[in-house]
């Protein structure tokens, strides 16, 4: 009698940390281990087998989704969102409990899965469509629509390797957007591409959700979750921490994030990245280099990031980024060491990096900072909500006044002039 189309019952997924770090083994290791095992048992009789290495990425998750519902899944890095989507997509099997699903499922965990650089746009549309579960007939009938949506008709017969990253993403998303499953599972794929295209994709997804499709949507962008989903669930350390109307769950999440961002950076465990370079502290400074807790609109502010490398050696080919997001996770701007002047690429084994913003162009309010560090294009540390950025009112325009906050978060310096006709 219920119209539930997706249900999880006591769902759990366990990874062994040892095997996660070094995913595959060599044949020799296995043989040696097999030979040593009886010996181990003699040495430590009755010892549990490495229970401390077990990590439950998901545990005791009970979730029900009804037909036509759009459900947002939110949570900090490492909370289990991606694992949940992988289990729901049948990519990896649960360790305990089960998933029950009714209807055609399509999952979009990445934009452009299976795209091949050597193939043309046309060929990749067909290939990617098949990988995402479209039949040949479906691909054929939707082909023109996909091309139109992607806005790359002129380059249809060019190998994808010659595409700009923007074109690549547009094409990849265009294929995905034309899937017509009954249940659509989407990871944070809208985080890529330019703003206009993101908006178009979000519109398409709203369209999909509106037509009675069931959507599960993971995002750090609370504004997107709010506009798309009527209900949300929050994951925390693999558990379903809260479920309910989107607004309530997001408020709980933000409170949670606030608590997290007051934890000293060095003690934060909700971070991802391979770990060779890690941030140890984050601080704000004013124009004179004094530590501050609140920044001021129109005044200089410096974000100081202390870091250290794991092996105590200098680090080369480093890129550091600071994402500035609104309170609802909506992206506002990025400060990127690779893009700005005075960027660096080599760092001492430990020290401080400072990002100077000479005139802070933000309205008074509370913002969030995500920070990340890449070495050789590999993320070494990524912390969501590394810190809050509280901005107090300041004299941005030199007029002593600020525009009303409904106009948006940004302040842009400008002048007016009136002339007689």
């Amino acid at each position: 009698m219920s119209d539930v189309v997706l249900r999880t019952v006591d769902l759990g997924k366990m990874y062994q940390i040892g095997s996660e770090r070094q995913a595959y083994r060599t044949l020799r290791d296995t043989l040696v281990q097999a030979a040593m095992r009886p010996l181990e048992r003699v040495r430590h009789p009755g010892a549990a087998t490495h229970a401390s290495d077990d990590l439950w990425a998901l545990r005791h998750v009970d979730l029900e989704v009804r037909h036509g519902e759009a459900v947002g899944i939110i949570g900090r890095n490492g909370a289990g969102k991606s694992t949940l989507l992988k289990v729901l997509s049948h990519i990896t099997e649960p360790t305990e409990g089960r998933v029950e699903i009714k209807g055609r499922v399509a999952s979009l965990l990445e934009v452009g899965t299976g795209f091949h650089q050597e193939l043309t746009g046309r060929e990749n549309i067909q290939l990617n469509g098949a990988i995402l579960g479209m039949t040949r007939a479906e691909i054929k009938s939707k082909f023109d629509e996909i091309v139109e949506f992607s806005e790359i008709a002129r380059f249809l017969d060019t190998p994808v390797k010659r595409y700009s990253s923007g074109m690549f993403v547009r094409l990849a998303f265009a294929v995905a957007a034309h899937l017509e499953p009954e249940i659509l599972i989407v990871d944070e794929v809208l985080a890529v591409g330019d703003a206009a295209f993101q908006k178009k994709c979000l519109g398409k997804m709203e369209d999909v959700a509106g037509r009675g499709r069931t959507v599960l949507f993971v995002s750090h962008n609370m504004a997107a979750v709010t506009s798309l989903c009527s209900r949300a669930v929050m994951l925390d350390s693999g558990n379903l921490a809260k479920s309910g109307p989107t607004r309530e769950v997001i408020d709980a999440y933000l409170l949670h994030a606030k608590e997290a961002s007051s934890t000293p950076l060095a003690q934060r465990s909700d971070r991802t990245g391979q770990g060779s370079v890690r941030f140890t502290a984050l601080g704000l400074e004013d124009g004179a280099g004094n530590a501050i807790t609140t920044a001021t609109s129109g005044r200089p502010v410096t974000v100081r990031l202390d870091y250290s490398s794991a092996d105590g050696r200098p680090v080369h080919r480093v890129i550091v980024g600071i994402y500035v997001r609104g309170l609802y996770g909506q992206p506002l701007f990025i400060c990127l060491s690779r893009v700005a002047q005075n960027g660096f690429s080599t760092l001492a084994p430990s020290g401080s990096i400072r990002c100077h913003i000479p005139v802070l162009p933000l309205q008074p309010g509370v913002y969030m900072l995500d920070i990340w560090c890449k070495v050789d294009e590999v993320i070494t540390d990524f912390v969501n909500h590394a810190s809050e950025l509280t901005v107090s009112a300041g004299d941005f325009f030199g007029s002593g006044k600020l525009p009303p906050p409904e106009g948006g978060e940004f302040l842009v310096f400008h002048q007016w002039e009136a002339t007689e006709a």
Partner: protein, 285 residues
């Protein structure tokens, strides 16, 4: 396309839960994904010929050059002969190279196929069997091209195929089954133990020497040794190709049945092993 899990409960729900023990082949599901199999094979072929500068020419030159070297070294220098006087060694060895290079290529490609498609395994669900099978299927185009070369070669030497040629598809099928069987083992093992990919080239080399590519099976003394050779399914395949195309003496029935039994055992074992291991592919690849 419908996703068919191993167990369907009432109301059309499918259930994903931890599988225990051995899983059988889910042929219905594999059939449902036949278009993906087609597209992945098509991609492999397209990419292979696009990336190679000489493209299709390579598929012609590779067996041709090997045949020339074999003829000079093994026939002219070492004196290994074709078992029938009316078939020159060049044609004899080329006919053996046809299924052999298909088999060797299939092993080389499929062995690394799962690892090479790691991004697919961790982002999309489909029956994992599709990956190694498509890697083997991709070799059929090369086989077809080489086959045309052989026909030209036979015409040049004035050899007409015998009526046995109608059985050729059966031996192609046997070669395909053998390649898939071995590929299932190797590709799954390579996900768990990356050193398998270093063993494959060595395995292929040794395997060629114990298969009658260079020499005729008749040069192996009849008796236990020849039975041991027949345990290698490629012996049956290569012998079958020469029988079907050149009308050359075929190891009497019994040997073919041994090869066939080995293929069936390898294939069934391979499917079971693969299906058991595929549950952890996405986690460890």
């Amino acid at each position: 396309m419908t996703k068919i899990a191993s167990r369907a409960v009432d109301d059309g729900f499918v259930v994903y839960e931890r599988q225990r023990g051995w899983a059988a082949l889910n042929a219905r599901e594999l059939w449902a994904y036949r278009e993906l199999l087609y597209f992945l094979t098509w991609r492999d072929i397209l990419v292979r010929y696009k990336q190679a500068v000489m493209g299709v020419a390579w598929a012609i030159l590779q067996p041709l050059l090997t045949m020339v070297v074999f003829t000079v070294v093994f026939n002219k220098a070492l004196g290994i002969k074709s078992p029938s006087s009316d078939v020159p060694y060049a044609v004899f060895s080329f006919t053996g190279l046809l299924p052999w290079q298909f088999f060797a290529g299939a092993l080389t490609r499929s062995g690394v196929s799962l690892v090479g498609n790691a991004n697919l395994l961790t982002k999309v669900y489909f029956p994992r069997l599709v990956i190694p099978i498509s890697a083997v299927l991709g070799g059929l185009v090369d086989l077809g091209i080489s086959f045309l070369v052989l026909l030209v070669l036979m015409a040049a030497y004035g050899i007409a195929p015998t009526w046995h040629v109608v059985f050729l598809p059966l031996f192609v099928l046997l070669a395909f089954a053998t390649a898939v069987a071995v590929s299932l083992w190797l590709s799954a093992m390579n996900v768990l133990y990356r050193d398998v990919q270093y063993i494959i080239p060595f395995l292929v080399q040794i395997w060629m020497f114990v298969s009658p590519v260079i020499y005729p099976i008749s040069s192996i003394p009849a008796g236990p040794l020849r039975v041991a050779f027949a345990l290698n399914p490629m012996t049956g395949v290569i012998g079958g190709f020469r029988w079907a195309l050149l009308g050359q003496q075929f190891p009497p029935g019994g040997y073919l049945w041994i090869s066939l039994a080995v293929v069936v055992a390898l294939l069934l074992g391979g499917v079971l092993y693969f299906r058991r291991m595929e549950r952890v592919f996405a986690d460890v690849v």
